[in-house]
């Protein structure tokens, strides 16, 4: 039996936008914290080798890191967990089942990171040089290890390698996209830290020459950004062929986001390498902020691409975006999508007949994860040019209608019910609406479509 969870409606906001919004902010802040740890260790070393103002920068930058990353970074991490439960409880459950010990390991790394970070902030002025450097090294290593572990879990969603539930955790963890993803994220983290450093340096009470000297040091830290195009190509090479095709032209929106991510990264990287490292130009606070905003745009587009590349799955081969496993589709075709759904409709009185109410339950079970009725990615808008027959055919043969859609996990009556619901919504939700029996053709289309 398919486990059913209660479903919340986020109004005109698509659920992917909720998790995407939280996720992008968290990824950006977390990568900033990771790169920040490495950068601080580097600057502390410079300070101990006599580079002027480096220590002042370390102490000031860490304050920013604590205020931004330790608070917002940590709590948006919890927020991701919470929003993922709201959006796809079975997905997060599957990931927890598979990787709970590695997730717990990541938590240990995070704990060490927090303790080392707070210890440095509180006692930095009293610590000797050796302790300062070691504490920063511990902070940086723990922060990077937390990326190491979470990266394995996240990259597993697209390239799981082995089916979940077999206990082959390490094979899944070190999956095909693990290394390119880890190295790419490490480069991003270093670039973000360097850009944030340029902003902080511009706020320091120093003359321009001394600030320029610090900026040149910080810019060097962004140099790994030059490796990002190669790492991106490596990533594209190891992801499944259909996902790659989908990103590189199969879907215009995805191609656009790939383009935005690539162009933004190119602009940031180009500026960092050509202007800051090669020509040793000065970057003021406004420009550095603009570059960081551009990097945020690149992060957002990159995360959108990473999420989108998995479609129609949330865990490739194991769970569709509808939170239904591929091996459950056949049973749902027989029983109907909502036969075992224990949750009634919250707005049952709105529907003039039982068929529309059934359609609303089918919509909630199979569509609501990625669509809205009238808001973002609205089914009414997406289908408004389809004829009545085309609507039923496209729903019945969903995975053939669009390659990023999962197979329809219901029977012919479900198809008719949801088609009626869409037509009723298109008609402005009138008070009276007659029921229609499902035609035999729908069952034939479902059979032709298959369950994969």
């Amino acid at each position: 039996m398919v486990p059913h969870y209660p479903v919340n409606d986020f109004g005109p906001v698509m659920k992917g936008m909720v998790i995407g919004g939280v996720g992008i902010v968290h990824v950006f802040l977390a990568q900033f914290a990771i790169g920040g740890g490495l950068l601080l260790w580097y600057f502390e070393r410079l300070a101990q080798r006599g580079v002027p103002d480096a220590r002042r920068f370390v102490d000031g930058f860490f304050q920013v890191l604590v205020l931004v990353s330790f608070v917002l970074g940590a709590l948006t991490g919890v927020a991701i967990w919470f929003t993922t439960i709201q959006v796809g409880a079975r997905t997060i459950g599957l990931m927890i089942d598979e990787f709970h010990w590695l997730w717990a390991t990541e938590w240990v790394c995070f704990s060490v990171e927090v303790v080392a970070g707070y210890a440095f902030v509180r006692f930095k002025a009293q610590l000797d040089d050796r302790s300062r450097l070691r504490l920063l090294a511990l902070y940086a290593v723990a922060a990077w290890l937390s990326l190491f572990f979470i990266n394995g879990i996240l990259s597993w969603q697209l390239t799981p390698g082995t089916p979940p539930g077999e206990g082959r955790v390490w094979a899944g963890f070190f999956n095909a996209s693990f290394w390119p993803s880890l190295l790419y994220r490490t480069c991003v983290a270093m670039a973000l830290a360097a850009l944030a450093a340029c902003i902080v340096i511009n706020t320091m009470d120093l003359d321009r020459d001394r600030r320029a000297a610090l900026i040149r040091r910080a810019s060097r830290f962004a140099a790994p950004i030059a490796a990002m195009p190669l790492l991106a190509l490596w990533y594209l090479a190891v992801i499944p062929e259909d996902s790659r095709g989908w990103l590189l032209g199969g879907s215009m929106p995805m191609l656009m986001f790939v383009g935005i991510a690539a162009a933004s990264s190119l602009l940031v990287g180009g500026y960092a390498i050509v202007a800051l490292i090669v020509r040793r130009l000065y970057v003021n606070g406004a420009t550095a902020t603009l570059l960081l905003a551009l990097a945020f745009g690149a992060t957002a587009a990159g995360e959108f691409v990473r999420e989108g590349a998995r479609k129609p799955y949330t865990v490739r081969g194991a769970l569709y975006s509808t939170s239904i496993a591929p091996n459950e589709v056949a049973a749902l075709r027989a029983s109907g999508a909502t036969a075992d759904d224990p949750y009634p409709l919250r707005d049952a009185a709105r529907y003039p007949n039982g068929q529309l109410a059934r359609g609303a339950k089918v919509y909630r079970a199979l569509c609501d994860a990625c669509h809205t009725m009238h808001g973002a990615n609205a089914v009414v808008e997406l289908s408004h040019t389809w004829t009545d027959d085309q609507l039923r055919l496209n729903i019945a043969k969903l995975q053939h209608t669009k390659s990023f859609m999962p197979p329809f996990a219901g029977n012919a009556d479900d198809v008719e019910a949801i088609a009626q619901l869409i037509e009723w919504e298109r008609a402005g939700a009138p008070h009276a609406w007659s029921e229609h029996a499902a035609s035999p053709e729908i069952a034939r289309w479902l059979d032709e479509a298959g369950i994969r």
Binding site: Y5, P6, V7, N8, L67, F70, V71, A74, L75, T76, G77, V78, A79, F82, T83, I85, Q86, A89, I92, I96, D97, E98, F99, H100, W101, L102, W103, A104, T105, W107, V108, C109, F110, S111, V112, V114, V115, A116, Y118, A119, R122, F123, Q126, L127, S131, R134, L135, L138, G165, E166, G167, R168, V169, W170, F173, Y343, P344, L345, R346, A348
Partner: protein, 311 residues
């Protein structure tokens, strides 16, 4: 193996309860400490105020572990209750963010510190209330369907209010036990600890009246909780009267025992509801190694900063 750790999920349950207890220590310091710093003007209140952001950071970090383990023990129930509360459950995060920054403001500003502490306290009370609701709703499966259909976002079970009273009292006692180790004047903290115990006992009686019972093997843990609370109260009386370090040591040890017994007693009604283990999973050795290395690293940090703390 001793109940409740004798089942298939005994190891995960032990980790869940142990990490929950650690989280409770930090969370108690933050909640009761915010209240203490809000109403008192002594040196302890000032010191507590400066430590609150750090303690909240620790509370949130420590809270991630039980949040992980509860998803193994009660995955279906936890997710269902979370989804049923919906935006209410999600509001925990912005409340914590506001509370976190309010604590930083309270630390940095003499002018705004009372308003900031009051705001932070309100945020934390909302979180405690929401989390207690979630805990109750997780166990109320016969009500889930009707709760969902009604579109409710507030679960008002009869045990909710007494549970919060027990929690408030326990937090005060735990806060006092931690703060007393750093305080020059311990008597006010001893009074807080004793008042907290009294509130907890009153809340426990109310909870029992509302239908919370402890039977079978859990009874032994309740007895341990009662004994530890009695010893801890006597020790706090001695601290209040004569301020002996040895009495504080006894109060802390008994308080720790009471906390461990309390988390088991709190969990007792849910033990029978624990889901079967979710299939094989590797990585436990990596986790064990990480725990050892992580503990060593944290011990090293404490040692490294020790001379600075003495200065």
């Amino acid at each position: 193996m001793m109940w409740p750790f004798d089942g298939d999920s005994g190891g995960v349950l032990a980790l869940y309860l142990a990490t929950l207890a650690v989280h409770a220590v930090f969370a108690s310091y933050v909640v009761a400490g915010s209240a203490y710093a809000l109403v008192r003007r002594d040196a302890t209140a000032h010191a507590v105020r400066t430590r609150l952001p750090f303690m909240l950071g620790c509370a949130i970090t420590a809270g991630v572990a039980p949040l992980l383990f509860v998803q193994l023990l009660h995955q279906r129930r936890f997710y269902t209750a979370h989804l049923l509360l919906g935006p209410r459950a999600l509001a925990i995060v912005p409340a914590l963010i506001v509370g976190f920054y309010a604590l930083y403001l309270a630390k940095a500003s003499d002018r705004w510190h009372r308003a900031a502490l009051a705001s932070a306290l309100a945020c934390f009370m909302f979180v405690a209330w929401s989390w207690s609701e979630l805990h109750e709703l997780m166990q109320a499966d016969p009500e889930w369907s009707a709760f969902y259909a009604a579109g409710d976002r507030f679960y008002t079970d009869a045990q909710l209010a007494p549970r919060l009273v027990v929690l408030a009292g326990a937090m005060a006692t735990i806060f006092a036990a931690v703060a007393a180790w750093f305080a020059a004047e311990r008597r006010p903290l001893a009074i807080v600890a004793l008042a907290g115990r009294a509130v907890s006992v009153a809340g426990a009686l109310w909870l029992w009246h509302a239908g919370f019972t402890v039977d079978g093997p859990a009874r032994g843990w309740l007895d341990l909780l009662a004994a530890a609370a009695v010893i801890d109260s006597i020790a706090w009386l001695v601290v209040a009267w004569r301020d002996q370090p040895s009495a504080l040591m006894v109060a802390t040890a008994a308080g720790a025992a009471a906390l461990l017994a309390a988390v088991v007693v709190r969990e007792a009604p849910r033990v029978a509801l624990i889901e079967p283990a979710h299939g094989p999973s590797g990585g436990v050795i990596a986790f064990a190694i990480a725990v050892v290395l992580g503990a060593a690293a944290i011990a090293w940090v404490i040692r490294a900063i020790a001379p600075s703390r003495r200065r």
